[in-house]
């Protein structure tokens, strides 16, 4: 724009909206572009192994979004993904990259299963509330410890959280196969099946369990926390520039640990939902990889709480469709992982473009 528009005219209004679009557009267009680039790269991969990309994507659409049943399948998988993504997105807003959601999920799930086993007679609300509490506690403590180590000693939280996830899975396996094993579960070690009072039912009208509502509520509440409360504002300052936060005397350590605990609690609740709504017991199926997909969702959504909703639905669709598509097209089980991997690499490469594309730069000094 060379000549400035006269203020008050439609031209000026258009200029202002264009300026606003430029400022915010980058956060949407770049990840979108990365997504498309990843899908194209995957199409190339399919071509190399001799399959039709069009058929693949067509089948994915059908199996994920093509019918009510498909939607229900997708939404059932969206629920844990929403919460798992929060486990990465929340600490990321403070500048910590945590990738250990998987650990928090399995520990939350096994804690819930054990709680239900120990107190089978608790009435509905208390029972479910108790499960939520212990799951949140388990997951929150797990990730919170990593946040604490990062603040205290500068431990690299990325590596620590990833390795702790493996520890958590081993711990879960030990608990499920050992002290808390249900004698009746012979083939597949598992805790005792939850009594009906502890099961989470489906949302009326939609054949999807209430975990979806919990997940959506969690995303919205976290958005409100970050964007509309003073705690969230302080957290964003820490994420924006930790030195500036220190100069303001903000309690950087407490904020880091607090938000790590919150993220871990969300993932723990995801585990509890898997136990109470899907499997009915805690066993090795808890380590289904939702934690890792959650990382990808958080990055694609650029750690924005509300953007996690559509992105999680998209990736849940891929996962829901994966079984059908892979069987139909005679592809190995890991194919959807290849797709996720390519999208993630494209996204990380796209991160390098952030701030460098001239069109998106706010007018004024660079």
């Amino acid at each position: 724009m060379t000549a400035a528009a006269v203020p008050g005219t439609p031209d000026a209004a258009f200029d202002r909206s264009l300026a606003a679009a430029r400022r915010h557009g980058e956060a949407v267009i770049v990840p979108l572009g990365a997504l498309v680039a990843g899908l194209l790269a995957f199409a190339l991969f399919l071509g190399i192994v001799g399959r039709s990309p069009a058929e693949f994507y067509g089948l994915v659409y059908q199996a994920a979004y093509g019918s009510t049943f498909a939607w229900e399948n997708t939404l059932a998988r969206t629920a844990p993904l929403l919460l798992a993504a929060l486990c990465t997105a929340l600490p990321a807003r403070l500048g910590m990259i945590m990738i250990g959601g998987e650990g928090a999920i399995v520990l939350g799930g096994v804690a819930a299963g054990i709680f239900a086993m120990l107190y089978p007679a608790l009435p509905g609300v208390l029972g479910i509330g108790g499960m939520v509490a212990v799951a949140a506690l388990a997951g929150g403590t797990w990730i919170g410890t990593i946040g604490f180590l990062r603040h205290l000693r500068g431990v690299n939280e990325t590596i620590a959280s990833l390795l702790m996830a493996y520890v958590a899975i081993a711990l879960m396996n030990h608990l499920v196969e050992g002290p808390f094993r249900d004698a009746a579960s012979l083939n597949k070690p598992s805790t005792a099946p939850l009594s009906d009072g502890f099961r989470i039912g489906t949302i009326p009208g939609l054949d999807v369990h209430w975990g979806l509502a919990i997940g959506i509520a969690a995303c919205v509440l976290c958005w409100v926390l970050l964007e509309r409360t003073t705690w969230g504002f302080a957290a964003r300052i820490v994420g924006g520039n930790v030195r500036a936060a220190q100069v303001q005397g903000l309690p950087v350590g407490r904020l880091m640990v607090g938000f790590s605990v919150l993220g871990g609690a969300c993932a723990g609740i995801a585990g509890m939902i898997e136990v109470a709504a899907v499997h009915g017991a805690a066993n090795a199926s808890l380590a289904a990889g939702y934690g890792y997909t959650g990382i990808l969702i958080a990055f694609l959504a650029r750690h924005h709480m509300l953007a996690i909703l559509p992105v999680a639905t998209l990736l849940a669709g891929f996962e829901a469709a994966s079984g059908l598509v892979q069987r139909r097209m005679d592809l190995p089980d890991a194919t959807v992982l290849v797709l996720q991997g390519m999208v993630f690499v494209a996204l990380l490469a796209g991160e390098a473009l952030h701030g460098r594309l001239a069109w998106f730069r706010a007018p004024g000094r660079q």
Partner: protein
């Protein structure tokens, strides 16, 4: 690259003829002419911002000079880029080493060559290096990874590297800034011995008068981009050198005082903290600032001022000692800052006091977002109130921004500083700690910032001004302290300030 370096080994002379360098509206160098005789140690002396680094970067080809010529060994040369400078025998040793930390000395030397074979025959290379070292008056460990060497050994390795690459004129940028005094003496002694063998010419940037007197043959002084004078070191004494560096200044006129100084508001007692390298210590036995006075801390960059700021803002833990505000022990937490009325303005505000990607509104809210009007804590963010607050501050402090919703990084340096001032100087200020407030600002913004600091002082606040700009300290401060090597080495009142004495203390020599 036209022509080649004069053939043969041995030191070359270097001459800068009428070099001018303009960056946009700023004239960093103004017709500077300096001659460095072959086989001598020539010191380049000047304050921060005098143009020493700029001159040297022009010589090395990092900048394209606006005007001037470079003469090497009596032949005029073109130096369009650093490679050309290297080809002509010019080498530079930087303040912060350019060795690869994980490689040994041998490996660093070999890979720094312009032409390295695809497959390196290490036995041959080691033999060639051994022969090369025999001819050197000193050596450095060659088989240890560079990161395990002490700073002094690393510096020697850097110099060896330059000699290995056949450089005949060596430019050193503050070579002893990361060395202890013993290592510094050893290094400079070694350099001088090398120069005496006729193998090398050395041009050394420094601000330490002691080193100039002890190790240099000639010294040139730059001040504000101009060449002030060149003389043989034996013909000058240190006070004269200091005076040339700092120049004739009119006795500082007393700045208008609003109130007489009140009781002591800020006090540091027996404060000890490690510096950023962990090897030296910031030791401040006693520093006090009264209400209604400005205490200026002068000093050359890198003598502990940053660490002092970090101690006061809580970013650096004290090993021992106490900070007292209004007589009560002070720990820099948000509640304590709020209660005691302590405000901090670190240097480079965009880097240290703002979140660059957050908007101006949000940045202006850093101090007030969690308090209601009646000072109670609040939980819900009141975004409308923050916007009003931001617009109000922008108007009062004349912050020019496209929109208050734009990221603060899109504002110019002056406006960022105005924003940080607006944020910090609102409300009751009892103690203000400010570092390099006018760095990089244009003349109008500088005047404005200084006026605001004076207003705060006149309102009864205690102001601690840490600045690398001696002019600023002399203009604003009621009392002047000089910081050198992490200690306060000199204190004087504004009326009694002797620029020569201050300059000598700044340069590390009483």
């Amino acid at each position: 690259m036209t022509g080649r370096t004069p053939s043969g080994a041995g030191a070359l002379g270097l001459e800068a003829v009428g070099i001018s360098m303009r960056f946009g509206g700023v004239l960093a160098l103004d017709d500077v002419s300096i001659r460095v005789e072959a086989g001598t140690v020539h010191a380049l002396l000047g304050e921060n911002g005098a143009g020493k680094s700029t001159l040297v970067k022009c010589l090395m080809g990092f900048h394209r000079m606006t005007a001037g010529q470079i003469v090497i060994g009596h032949r005029e040369v073109e130096i369009p880029d650093p490679r050309a400078a290297h080809a002509r025998g010019l080498g530079m040793v930087y303040q912060h080493f350019t060795l690869v930390p994980s490689l040994t000395g041998t490996e660093n030397l070999v890979i720094s060559r312009a032409r390295v074979p695809a497959v390196i025959d290490w036995r041959n290379e080691r033999a060639a290096l051994a022969r090369f070292l025999e001819a050197m008056p000193f050596t450095a460990p060659l088989d240890v990874p560079a990161q395990r060497l002490a700073a002094g050994e690393r510096q020697k390795l850097e110099i060896l590297k330059q000699l290995y690459l056949g450089r005949r004129i060596l430019i050193l940028d503050e070579p002893t800034s990361v060395l202890t005094p013993e290592e510094a003496d050893e290094l400079l002694g070694t350099l001088r011995a090398l120069v005496r063998t006729g193998r090398l010419t050395v041009l050394m940037i420094t601000h330490k008068l002691r080193e100039v007197s002890a190790f240099a043959d000639t010294v040139s002084v730059l001040r504000q981009g101009r060449h002030v004078g060149t003389a043989r070191v034996q013909d000058l004494d240190q006070p004269t050198m200091a005076a040339m560096m700092i120049g004739e200044r009119p006795a500082p006129a007393g700045t208008a005082r609003g109130t007489t100084a009140g009781p002591v508001a800020l006090q540091l007692r027996e404060v000890r903290a490690p510096d950023r390298t962990g090897r030296k210590v910031i030791a401040i036995d006693s520093l006090s600032v009264r209400g209604g006075e400005i205490v200026g801390v002068a000093g050359v960059a890198g003598n502990g001022q940053t660490e002092l700021m970090e101690i006061l803002t809580g970013q650096r833990r004290l090993e021992s000692g106490t900070i007292l505000v209004d007589g009560r022990p002070y720990v820099p937490s948000r509640a304590a800052m709020q209660a005691a009325g302590v405000r901090c303005l670190p240097e480079e505000p965009l880097r240290n006091a703002c979140a660059a990607r957050m908007s101006l509104v949000e940045n202006l809210a850093f101090r007030t977002f969690d308090r209601r009007a009646d000072d109670r804590r609040r939980f819900w963010l009141d975004r409308a109130r923050l916007r009003i607050h931001a617009r109000d501050l922008a108007a009062r402090f004349r912050i020019r921004a496209g929109s208050v919703e734009h990221p603060i990084a899109s504002l110019s340096g002056g406006n960022v500083q105005r924003a940080v001032l607006a944020r910090e100087l609102t409300g009751t200020v009892r103690v203000l700690v400010v570092a390099n407030p006018c760095f990089g600002l244009d003349v109008a913004a500088v005047a404005e910032v200084r006026a605001r600091i004076l207003t705060v002082r006149n309102g009864g606040a205690a102001v601690l001004l840490v600045s690398e700009d001696l002019d600023e300290v002399l203009d604003l401060a009621d009392r002047i302290l000089v910081m050198s090597e992490g200690r306060i080495v000199h204190a004087t009142r504004q009326a009694d300030a002797n620029v020569g004495v201050i300059g000598r203390h700044m340069a590390g020599r009483a």
